[in-house]
């Protein structure tokens, strides 16, 4: 079974692979359907015709037999009627009855016998029985008196029936034993009552007819080789049947007594009723047509039984012959179709082989030469064209690939250069005690548009982080430019907003590609932790110290857009331990496979977590942040450059030994108080006397300058002097709320001139610079703040 299934699969897969077989099968199947339909109709019609022919044939035979019987019966009836008329005319002479009886057979030698029987004692002289009976005895006629105690005729059917039925009638056939020939004769009798002139029955005249001829005729009816005929009487008794043991012994109903057979019973009843017709039924498990018709007035019925196979045998032979021819034809068709189609399609196979060769890489393989103009020829030509195109295309592709490789090589180099631009040595604790810094830049492509930079100069940390619009090579070029300009500009400018403004001017002017940069620039004063910064549309950095908070940033437009834009200056005090976390939007907008962004909230959360774990040291923080992003993004492709920079301010602020404050009004009379104050501070820190004098002079100079010029004349205002002094350094912070004025911008005094000739104040700042190590001015919006610092050589 499994083997067969396997074979079936093999066959069906073979058919699927072979176009010629498939097409041929379709054609042959279609032809078969048409043949079957056409032959079906033809066979049906032919079968009907054959059936009709059988019916006609059987009907003819039945009609002929019936007519013949009818003819003879009529002769019997006519002759009997004549004799009856004679008898009734002369009913009183018994001996003349012998003459009448004999005369009947003399005139009709084909009759079997004749008796003229009378009621008991009708002829007193003849006794109880009188029946004039004539019968052929071999060739001579024998006439006798037939009634006796042995044969009491008045109980016989033939004697009783005409009276009971009140009409002349034919008896059921019966077998008469003929003593002279010692044989049975099948006989039927026509009997008619004899009446006297008062209409009373006086006897019966009975003329018998042998039915042997009929039985032989009917037995011989054989329209088909296996057909046969039967004849039954009124009681269903067989009088003719091919099985002679059934004759007179069985009726048509006998078998149905034990095995009910409704068809047979119906046939029997129909024949008994004297009907004519056709029935199709099963006899001995064989389908047969039965044609039946009554035989005149005998009450008998004849039937011809024709097995269906017999009727249709010729037809079936024809059908078998036609069907086998059709099937053979279809197989031949299939065979030739497969051959022809295979031959026609053979170039396709060669073409397919060549295609495989080409597919394996031999583009110059020789195609078969086909001199055909049909579709296959066209296909072959197209294939040749395709092959040429392929060869050409492959050549181009090789060139392109080479070019691409070159570009990739360049890009790789560019990437190296770009990465080389970024600072690589990050200051860490053992190297520096004031700041730790770490940064990472992961470009989305070979080269990226993000940048960061930092350097130390004058105890200040200059740093920036930026993001060029766009990606790839263009962005990387702008990034390089931005970084260069930052270095250049910040060398001259210490204020971030100025750096930013200058950079913007430079970049906006040469910006022909409308690219821009979001940029954050910061300058951290390392000794004080004071941060100055300016933000050009960049993400605000986080400050991680006691908590996580965002560094407030003004909204400025990115660099490179508007050359005239003036960037704002912002500042903040960074306490020791605080980490400034800077990043580009590559962090917040990092996307996972579901196109979900990392978002600021997650950045804050990671930062908060790092804070909680006290692991916000720059390298750790960035490692944590990187890990969090990678975890979030998963296998999704990096969509944007990702840059992070963390700066932790770790300067231990020495506790100043002295921290004193003095508030003066803008009155020159207050100066002695100032001098006392300075002397006191210097004494506290054990400043040598000469230096104390110098410091007193410098501070006085600066304060007097404020008293004299900070406030408009005739207005009072405070001058606040704060001193922070330690063993190593002494610092004076002078602040006022007067007119903003930066004394450090004043040109140095021309020391070649005498004191009187020099403009006021000019000498003052010169002096201050001479004495102090640094002089810094700033304005916090309301106050002028001047910081004078002197490092003490201990």
């Amino acid at each position: 079974m499994a083997q067969r299934h396997h074979n079936m699969n093999k066959i069906s897969s073979y058919i699927r692979r072979k176009l010629s077989v498939k097409v041929s099968l379709w054609v042959v199947m279609f032809a078969a359907v048409i043949f079957i339909a056409a032959l079906g109709i033809f066979f049906y019609q032919a079968r009907e015709a054959v059936r009709q022919e059988a019916i006609n044939r059987a009907t003819q035979i039945l009609d002929k037999t019936s007519l013949r019987v009818e003819g003879i019966l009529n002769r019997v009836e006519v002759a009997t009627d004549m004799t009856q008329w004679l008898v009734q005319r002369h009913p009183n002479n018994p001996d003349s009855m012998f003459v009448y009886s004999q005369g009947m057979l003399l005139n009709n030698p084909d009759f079997y016998n004749c008796s003229i029987a009378f009621e008991p004692y009708y002829f007193k002289e003849k006794g109880r029985y009188f029946s004039a009976y004539t019968k052929f005895d071999l060739d001579s006629l024998r006439t006798i008196q037939g009634g006796s105690d042995y044969y009491q005729y008045f109980y016989m059917d033939w004697y009783l029936m005409p009276t009971l039925l009140d009409r002349p009638c034919w008896t059921e056939p019966y077998m008469d034993f003929d003593v002279s020939t010692n044989s049975y004769e099948m006989v039927t009798s026509y009997c008619q009552a004899i009446k006297d002139n008062k209409g009373r029955k006086i006897g019966v005249i009975n003329t018998s007819l042998s039915l042997n001829w009929l039985s032989q005729t009917i037995s011989g009816v054989k329209p088909y080789p296996n057909s046969y005929s039967i004849m039954i009487g009124r009681g269903g008794t067989y009088f003719v049947h091919p099985d002679t043991t059934k004759i007179t012994r069985q009726t048509i109903f006998t078998q149905t007594l034990e095995q009910p057979d409704t068809a047979m019973t119906a046939l029997g009843h129909a024949m008994q009723r004297g009907e004519q017709g056709i029935k199709r039924m099963s006899i001995n498990n064989e389908d047969c047509y039965v044609f039946y018709k009554p035989l005149g007035k005998t009450g008998c019925s004849m039937a011809i039984v024709c097995p269906e196979d017999d009727i249709f045998s010729g037809f079936d032979r024809l059908r078998r012959a036609v069907m086998s021819m059709v099937i053979m034809g279809l197989f031949l068709m299939l065979f030739f179709f497969i051959r022809i189609i295979t031959r026609e399609l053979s170039p396709l196979r060669r073409l397919a082989l060549e295609a495989e060769t080409i597919a394996s890489g031999q583009f110059d393989a020789q195609l078969p030469e086909l001199h055909r103009t049909d579709e296959i020829g066209q296909l072959s030509n197209s294939f040749a064209d395709m092959q040429q195109s392929l060869v050409r295309y492959m050549g181009e592709l090789q060139d392109t690939t080479a070019q691409k490789a070159s570009i990739e090589r360049d890009l790789h180099i560019a990437s190296g250069i770009q990465m080389g631009m970024l600072p690589k040595n990050f200051p860490t604790y053992p190297d520096r005690d004031d700041v730790q810094l770490f940064a990472s830049l992961v470009p989305a492509k070979e080269v990226g548009g993000d940048l960061f930079d930092f350097y130390f100069h004058n105890e200040k940390l200059f740093f920036c982080i930026g993001d060029v619009s766009g990606k790839g090579v263009p962005a990387s070029l702008v990034m390089a430019v931005t970084r260069s300009i930052f270095r250049t500009v910040s060398a001259r400018e210490t204020e971030p907003h100025r750096i930013m403004t200058t950079m913007n001017q430079a970049m906006a002017e040469m910006n022909q590609t409308n690219m821009f940069v979001t940029l954050f620039v910061g300058v951290l004063d390392l000794p004080t932790g004071h941060l100055l910064y300016s933000n050009a549309g960049h993400d605000a950095p986080l400050l991680i110290a006691e908590g996580v908070e965002t560094l407030p940033c003004d909204s400025n437009i990115p660099v490179g857009v508007l050359p005239s834009w003036s960037y704002t200056r912002q500042e903040a005090q960074i306490s020791t331990g605080t980490t400034i976390f800077l990043f580009t939007d590559g962090l917040t907008e990092a996307m996972n496979a579901d196109k979900e962004q990392f978002r600021q909230e997650r950045v804050d959360a990671v930062a908060a977590q790092a804070l909680e774990q006290r692991s916000y040291e720059p390298r750790q923080l960035i490692a944590q942040m990187t890990q969090a992003v990678h975890q979030f993004v998963g296998d999704a492709e990096q969509s944007d450059d990702l840059t992070m920079m963390a700066i932790q301010y770790i300067k231990k602020q020495d506790d100043p030994d002295i921290h004193k404050t003095l508030v003066l009004s803008n009155d020159i009379q207050q100066v002695p108080r100032l001098n006392d104050f300075v002397q006191e501070v210097c004494a506290d820190v054990h400043t040598p006397a000469p230096l104390a004098m110098q410091l007193q002079l410098a501070v006085e100079e600066a304060v007097v300058n404020v008293i004299n010029y900070a406030y408009p004349p005739d207005t009072t205002g405070d001058v606040n002097i704060e001193t922070i002094a330690s063993d190593t350094q002494i610092q004076f912070i002078i602040s006022d709320s007067g007119t903003p004025f930066d004394p450090t911008l004043q040109p140095d005094a021309d020391t070649s001139l005498s004191a009187q000739q020099r403009p006021i104040g000019g000498l003052g700042i010169f002096l201050v610079r001479q004495i102090m190590d640094t002089v810094a001015y700033r304005h916090d919006g309301t106050h002028n703040i001047l910081t004078l610092t002197k490092t003490l050589k201990s």
Binding site: D149, Y151, M175, R234, G235, G236
Partner: protein, 323 residues
């Protein structure tokens, strides 16, 4: 042929009534003549002969059916036959007619007669109908019944088979449930509860077939008669137990006698005859004459003037003292 056979019976009856041949057989062979041609009605005797029961019993029996040229009763008169089967009513008529008979074996315990009416009509509603009756004189009970129920049937005596009824010449016909009833069925007549009247179901359950000898012969051959009766009874018992083999034997006799019948009919007949042999009350095959049935038949026939006197049970049995 058929009417010749029937004629034989007519003759047999007449001879039984008219003449009284009392001459005993010189030979000790019992020639047994069943009252009809070979058929399953006589299975037990055929079996007893074929299986050698008679020989085993030490009695010589030869079964000879009545024939057209030699009627049964003439054989009895000519001492060519010593035993014959008769229906109880027939036996009563013959005894009443002056020929003493002895019942040596009673096989039937029930009445088999029926009236079959044409066209699915109830025979009891067919007042004045023409009803076929055997010309040889079975059917005494039917006449009694017709008189009693005031049906005034016109009796048409016929010698032949069922053809008269089948041809439509009769309104109804008498039939034996084991023979003509099946012949009618075989002739395509449809039977229902309505058109069949069974005498046994209406107070006329009088037993039928038995084996009779003239008392004169019996008195001289009691021992042989006994053995013959016992062997015949054994034949019946065997037939009841081996119906198909018994049927084979019947068909041998049927074929020998060239009887126009068939195995199907004979099988039905055997089954029905065996059924009729079982007594209704005991349910057993009793093989005895029932005094009550003899009395009932005798009284009924006497009342209807068929008997000049009531013939008693004792007159038919072996122990009756010679009159």
């Amino acid at each position: 042929m058929t009417f010749m056979r029937q004629a034989a019976y007519l003759f047999f009856l007449l001879v039984m009534v008219v003449a009284a041949p009392l001459a005993a057989a010189s030979d000790d062979t019992i020639v047994f003549t069943p009252q009809w041609t070979a058929q399953a009605q006589f299975t037990g005797y055929y079996v007893a002969e074929a299986k050698g029961f008679y020989r085993e019993a030490g009695v010589k029996v030869r079964i000879e059916h009545p024939s057209a040229t030699q009627p049964a009763m003439s054989r009895l008169r000519a001492n060519e036959c010593q035993a014959t089967t008769l229906q109880l009513c027939q036996a009563l008529e013959i005894v009443d007619g002056g020929i003493p008979l002895v019942n040596i074996l009673q096989t039937s315990m029930n009445n088999a007669m029926v009236i079959v009416s044409a066209r699915d009509k109830d025979p009891l509603t067919q007042k004045g109908a023409r009803v076929g009756i055997w010309s040889v004189g079975f059917g005494q009970l039917a006449i009694c019944m017709s008189n009693k129920d005031h049906l005034d049937y016109q009796w048409v005596r016929f010698a032949q088979n069922v053809n008269l009824f089948v041809s439509g010449a009769l309104d109804a016909t008498l039939a034996m449930s084991y023979n003509e009833y099946y012949q009618l069925l075989q002739a395509g007549i449809q039977m229902s509860d309505k058109n069949v009247y069974r005498f046994c179901d209406h107070g006329y359950n009088v037993q039928e077939d038995g084996v009779y000898m003239t008392r004169a012969y019996y008195n001289q051959h009691r021992e042989q008669a006994h053995r013959f009766a016992e062997a015949s009874r054994k034949g019946w018992e065997w037939a009841a137990q081996h119906p198909e083999e018994a049927l084979d034997i019947v068909m041998q006799y049927v074929n020998k006698g060239r009887i126009a019948t068939n195995r199907v009919l004979q099988r039905l007949m055997l089954t029905e005859v065996l059924r009729l042999q079982a007594d209704r009350e005991s349910g057993k095959r009793e093989f005895r004459l029932r005094p009550d049935m003899v009395r009932q038949a005798s009284r009924m026939m006497h009342e209807n003037k068929m008997l000049s006197r009531e013939v008693t049970y004792e007159e038919l049995t072996e122990n009756e003292s010679p009159q």
